[in-house]
């Protein structure tokens, strides 16, 4: 029997699983290129994937052939009954028993293959997902800061989560679905033809009909789905803004207007939501109806043909099963191109990110300084965050060891920029910065930064205990290898230095939530 629990949502992780997601028609800019890259990325799993393909085909094939052979059992049964009535014989249980055993064997094989290919695919997709995430995370640390000036954190995070998830979903589920759907359709067609060409033609008439209907519903529901996404974005944006600025909102008695704005977007969201939900929900029943139309037509024709003796009763049974199972893979295939496009779009974003130009490479022969003196010199430095806005113009200065140099100026003059250049968060456009006589580009970045102790006015805390944040600074200073400071602190009572640095007492007055998670 080919009833596939296709209605049941796959137990996805983190994803709200559901029946077909008729989701936004995102298109990749370079579909082929991205797909090639994806295939190349999965390179090491090539054999595994081929095995998966083969197993999937075998598994589906076994499932398809089953009903036909089973139909022969019913035919034998039918013939046996007729013979019994006529008194000429009885039901041939041997033959039926044989058929049942063969089919059982086929189903067992199908299950086995299905399991194996799923297992392998799980390994492959999980590995690829892991590597993609890791590569993105490592890439983040190699990208120049200029990249992050142009891109919001949200976008980068979206690569790691949403985009990698999409690719993962496709690999682990949709890919094999594609294969099984194609094989199913082709196989079923073949089976149907082998039974009777007339009935097959009738059944085939459903196909253009169902594709047309599917296409119509998809395009209509997509319209509303895009709308829904838009309004969801509005609502979410408003929520984020209002929650983020809660204090200000309260201070200026802005609740009423905030709620009014929210209600407007919420109302529009409601409209778009139910419409898109309705339309995509119609897909299943309408496809089933079209399928049933075929079912009925085939039954009528089959009955007539059986009377003529052209087909057997068992054939009809098998044919009906095939017809009922025909519409589902077709619907899946209709959705496939959508899925592939989405995946390509997601993969494209990931690969684009991974291909971003990195920070200027480290020199191969870094300068090493055993006893840093602390002589800093700026030589004709020109720099701008963006090409058209130069912030530092022709700057030259010297700081001698032991001197205390102050940098003052109005806001936006370039004070913090100077420090960032010194720490080589950005590279100068022209000119040079020298430390102890060597261009800072000749040092390895970690060596260079180890020379500096830096305290910033803004952020930089993590969700570790606050004391550890300050411990980071302490640990980073170049000390003797055996220094106790080199050992990572694990006790909850911190060292005296940390107590002093973070005003331990003031922390006790903070509300607990801020104490444990010092999110800045």
């Amino acid at each position: 029997m080919m009833h596939r629990p296709g209605n049941a949502p796959r137990g996805g992780f983190g994803r709200p699983g559901g029946p077909m997601q008729f989701t936004k028609g995102e298109k990749a800019r370079d579909f082929r290129g991205t797909m090639k890259k994806l295939i190349a990325y999965a390179g090491r799993h090539r054999t595994a994937v081929i095995v998966v393909f083969i197993f999937a085909i075998l598994s589906t094939a076994a499932n398809i052939v089953g009903p036909k052979i089973l139909g022969e059992a019913t035919t034998k049964l039918f013939e046996g009954v007729m013979a019994q009535l006529a008194g000429t014989g009885g039901i041939d249980f041997d033959a039926i028993g044989q058929i049942v055993l063969i089919v059982l064997g086929l189903y067992l094989l199908s299950a086995l293959f299905g399991y194996l290919q799923g297992w392998i695919m799980a390994n492959v997709s999980t590995d690829i997902t892991y590597r993609l995430r890791r590569d993105i995370a490592e890439k983040i640390n190699r990208l120049p800061l200029t990249y992050f000036d142009k891109t919001t954190h949200g976008e980068v995070l979206s690569r790691i989560t949403n985009d990698v998830d999409t690719v993962n979903q496709t690999l682990s589920q949709s890919l094999t679905q594609i294969i099984t759907s194609v094989v199913t359709v082709v196989g079923i067609l073949g089976m149907m033809f082998s039974i009777n060409w007339m009935m097959t033609l009738v059944a085939l008439l459903i196909v253009p009909l169902s594709m047309a209907v599917a296409g119509l519903i998809i395009s209509q529901s997509q319209k509303f789905f895009t709308q829904q996404q838009d309004y969801l974005g509005h609502v979410n944006g408003h929520v984020e803004e209002m929650y983020g600025g809660h204090l200000v909102m309260k201070a200026f008695n802005g609740e009423a207007s905030s709620i009014a704005t929210f209600d407007k977007s919420n109302g529009k969201l409601y409209e778009a939501a139910w419409k898109s939900q309705f339309l995509s929900g119609m897909m299943m029943p309408i496809m089933m109806f079209v399928g049933n139309l075929g079912y009925v037509a085939v039954t009528i024709l089959g009955g007539w043909l059986a009377v003529q003796g052209i087909v057997t009763v068992g054939d009809i049974q098998a044919f009906i099963q095939y017809v009922r199972s025909f519409t589902q893979p077709i619907t899946q295939l209709a959705n496939i191109s959508n899925v592939l496009q989405q995946t390509a779009a997601a993969a494209e974003r990931v690969f684009e990110f991974l291909a971003e130009p990195e920070e200027v490479a480290e020199t191969t022969v870094p300068v090493k300084v055993s006893q840093p003196e602390g002589h800093v010199e700026f030589q004709d430095v020109h720099f701008g965050y963006s090409a058209d806005k130069i912030v530092i113009n022709d700057f030259s200065a010297v700081a001698h060891p032991g001197q205390k140099v102050a940098i003052v100026g109005p806001t936006g003059a370039g004070k913090t920029t100077m420090v960032k250049l010194l720490m080589r968060f950005y590279d100068v456009n022209s000119g040079a910065i020298l430390v102890d006589g060597s261009d800072i580009r000749d040092y390895s970045r970690s060596d260079l930064r180890n020379l500096f102790g830096w305290s910033s006015r803004t952020r930089g805390c993590t969700t570790t205990r606050s004391w550890r944040t300050s411990a980071m600074a302490v640990r980073a200073r170049p000390t003797r290898k055996s220094s106790p400071l080199r050992r990572p602190r694990t006790s909850t009572t911190s060292c005296t230095r940390c107590r002093a640095a973070t005003r331990w007492s003031s922390m006790k007055r903070l509300p607990t939530s801020r104490r444990v998670r010092s999110s800045c």
């Binding site: 709200p16 009377v307 009809i316 952020r459």
Partner: protein
């Protein structure tokens, strides 16, 4: 989940209609296999002939048939038929249908209801079969020999030639006749009633052919008729589904909309304490993601959760009706399936939940890395961060793999069980058909029902994955909705009155943050007079911001009172209180829109002159006019497209638009350089003569001319007075001032 049950109430009507429609749909869907079996049984096997009672029968045949009927049956049968002769007035009506009427008389069946038909059908069938058997034996000597063997004493070969067997039989004494009938019946008894009717159908078909009826047409008519019924059912079923889809979409989206509204409203009413206890990020997720989850589940529930049991129960009823003894097969299959699913999910469900947590953790690590990118690089902590991420990644990967593998096992196994079930049904069904307990068509129908029952169980089990996830979301939302804000308006609020001076008094105020170990403020008492500047200065964490945050009632004091114009601020509504206060927070927040919309946030009805004046005082005019759009210039979300200093100045301008009697500046000049700071203070002093100014700062130069300076240390006031007084009396103040002396001299 139940905590949110009240949100479904407005939609009870829709939900009831949906259930009703689903019930109807289930019935339609279950009737389909019925029609399929009829198609096979009656349409194909019986040639479209439904009962053993022919619609018309040649009189000659009829006379032969009644020989084999008991007296009562004979009476009943003859009652049911009307004789029509070729020359009878009714003949023309029937001759078209039964051409043979032109030559011989026929008996036509009157309209009878089903029970009546069922009553005489078996007897008629047996009689027809008997007649048929004899007629065949007459025609075929082989068959005659067979009959001689099987029916005692009925050796047709012994009948003298020229004699009509039936005449003989008709004249036989009743007792002998009974014997013969009994012997014949024995042969048929093995077949069972259903089979007898089936067998008789072919006899009836032969009779029809003899009558001149187009039997092929009868058959195809029947088949098409059934087909049309099936089509009609399908149509109705589809109509139901579409209606259900519409209703469920509306209801689910409606519930989601209501939830979103209520959650948002609730959170907007939160005070700072509640915001701290959840976190901003968590609140955002609860207002958005979690609601979406509920919406998805609501839709699925209405479609699947209601439909599946209806299907299952309906299928079970049909199976029972069919009186089949194969139900135990279904029971076994369901049992195995359910235990499989139960095992898998006991094992896998906790892991499912873990995945969500691990995804959050991964996000968190990545977000922190991004937020503190410069710090990470400054301290060369990249390897540390990468290791942290890798751990989170590995954890997530491990659990994902496990979950994936579990799902991979499930699918093939479930398919196998279902397929195995259909095999078992066919095997056992064959036995049953052989024993004449069941017809082939019935077996096929049973197969369909079995599949539907199993499928419905499957769907119900699938629900057990979805619901927990939604349940988590529901709990998170309910947590928010059930919170009672700590800061509420009094039952009988008082009012400040028309002449509002703005005298702020702290009386023995102590304050402890919720969940903190120690008081943040201890015994604070002071008065801020209208027309005067009261400054608060002290080291980081000494409690300055805390004090001013208490005035707009962002938190409530834990001891003591805060009075404005003699009225405890807890006695007035928060709305009225905050109308009187212009507040500039430590961290400037601008909303997306334009500069103008941000300024008007304080007062929608402010005149353009008011806006200009406020901007001038805040030293913001210069950069506003430097932009081509001026006041209409865009501000992006979070004020990203303006510098820190500009944000602060706009923040200040916004507060000034309000023209409030009390103005609070919480470290609001920190991003301004000293020149701008001084200019701002001068302008402020000029234009806010009558209002109460409270300024929190780290810079001595800002407050040198304040009428009252409060020095704070670890939550207590350790110094109070003017600048010169404090320079003499307060050591801490002196220290702070002297450390800033260089800048002071420049101001």
């Amino acid at each position: 989940m139940l905590r949110l049950a009240r949100y479904v109430k407005p939609y009870w009507l829709i939900v009831s209609i949906t259930i009703f429609l689903l019930f109807a749909q289930a019935n339609f869907d279950l009737a389909l296999p019925d029609y399929l079996s009829r198609m096979v049984n009656t349409g194909i096997q019986q040639g479209g002939i439904e009962t053993a009672l022919p619609e018309a029968i040649r009189q000659s045949e009829m006379e032969r048939v009644v020989i084999f009927l008991t007296a009562t049956d004979k009476a009943a049968v003859l009652d049911a038929y009307t004789l029509v002769t070729p020359d009878s007035p009714k003949a023309p009506d029937y001759v078209g249908k039964y051409p043979v009427l032109a030559e011989e008389p026929i008996s036509v069946l009157e309209a009878l209801d089903q029970p009546a038909i069922d009553a005489i059908s078996p007897a008629m069938a047996k009689a027809l079969l008997a007649v048929n058997g004899i007629e065949e034996a007459l025609a075929d000597p082989e068959k005659a020999a067979e009959m001689a063997d099987s029916v005692q004493g009925f050796d047709l070969s012994r009948i003298p030639a020229g004699m009509d067997v039936f005449d003989l039989l008709a004249q036989m004494p009743a007792a002998t006749m009974q014997q013969v009938t009994a012997a014949m019946n024995e042969r048929f008894s093995a077949l069972g009633d259903k089979m007898i009717v089936q067998a008789a159908a072919s006899v009836v078909k032969a009779e029809y052919t003899a009558l001149g009826v187009d039997t092929d047409k009868v058959q195809s008519d029947y088949i098409i008729n059934i087909g049309m019924w099936m089509l009609g059912l399908t149509l109705l079923s589809a109509a139901c589904t579409i209606a259900v889809s519409y209703l469920s979409a509306r209801a689910a989206a409606g519930v989601a909309r209501d939830l979103r509204h209520d959650v948002f409203r609730k959170v907007e009413s939160f005070s700072n304490a509640e915001f701290d206890s959840f976190s901003t990020a968590s609140l955002i997720t609860r207002s958005t993601n979690d609601v979406t989850q509920i919406q998805m589940v609501a839709v699925m529930t209405m479609r699947m959760v209601f439909y599946a049991p209806l299907m299952g129960i309906g299928g079970v009823i049909k199976v029972i009706q069919q009186d089949s003894s194969m139900w135990w097969l279904i029971a076994i299959a369901v049992g195995v399936l359910v235990s499989l699913i139960a095992t898998v999910f006991t094992v896998a469900l906790p892991k499912f939940r873990m995945v969500q947590t691990l995804v959050d953790r991964l996000n968190l690590v990545a977000r922190e890395n991004l937020a503190g990118l410069m710090v990470v690089r400054a301290f060369a902590m990249e390897p540390f961060e990468e290791k942290r991420f890798d751990k989170a990644n590995l954890d997530l990967t491990a659990v994902s793999l496990f979950v994936n593998r579990v799902m991979v096992i499930m699918m093939p196994l479930m398919m196998l069980i279902m397929n195995g079930l259909s095999l078992a049904i066919i095997w056992v069904g064959a036995q049953q058909v052989a024993d004449a307990q069941m017809q082939v068509g019935d077996m096929m129908a049973f197969l369909q029902y079995a599949m539907q029952i199993v499928m419905s169980f499957l769907m119900v089990s699938m629900m057990f994955i979805i619901l927990p996830r939604a349940s988590v979301s529901a709990d998170r939302i309910a947590d928010v909705l059930e919170v009672e804000p700590a800061i509420v308006d009094p039952a009988k609020p008082q009012s400040f009155g028309n002449r509002f001076a703005g005298l702020v008094e702290f009386r023995n105020v102590s304050f402890r943050y919720p969940g903190a170990d120690e008081d943040a403020l201890v015994d604070i008492s002071f008065t801020a007079h209208p027309g005067q500047t009261t400054a608060l200065i002290g080291a980081t964490g000494s409690g300055k911001s805390t004090i001013v945050n208490l005035i707009p009632r962002f938190y409530d004091v834990t001891a003591g009172q805060i009075l404005i114009d003699g009225l405890d601020i807890r006695e007035v509504t928060q709305h009225e209180l905050r109308e009187k206060i212009g507040y500039v927070p430590q961290k400037s927040v601008l909303f997306s829109g334009t500069i103008e919309s941000n300024l008007r946030y304080a007062d929608e009805s402010a005149s353009p002159e008011q806006l200009e004046l406020a901007a001038e005082i805040a030293q913001a005019t210069e950069f506003i006019t430097s932009r081509p759009e001026g006041l209409a210039a865009d501000i992006s979300q979070g004020g990203q497209n303006v510098s820190g200093g500009q944000k602060q100045r706009l923040s200040i301008a916004r507060a000034l638009v309000k023209k409030a009697a009390i103005n609070i500046f919480d470290d609001s000049f920190s991003a301004l350089d000293l020149k701008t700071d001084a200019a701002l203070r001068r302008a402020l002093h000029q234009h806010t003569q009558a209002s109460t100014l409270l300024i929190v700062t780290q810079r001595v130069s800002t407050i040198k001319n304040a009428e009252q300076i409060l020095v704070l240390d670890e939550g207590r006031i350790v110094g109070r007075g003017t600048h010169s007084e404090l320079m003499n009396d307060c050591e801490i103040y002196r220290e702070i001032a002297l450390s800033q002396l260089a800048q002071e001299a420049l101001a």
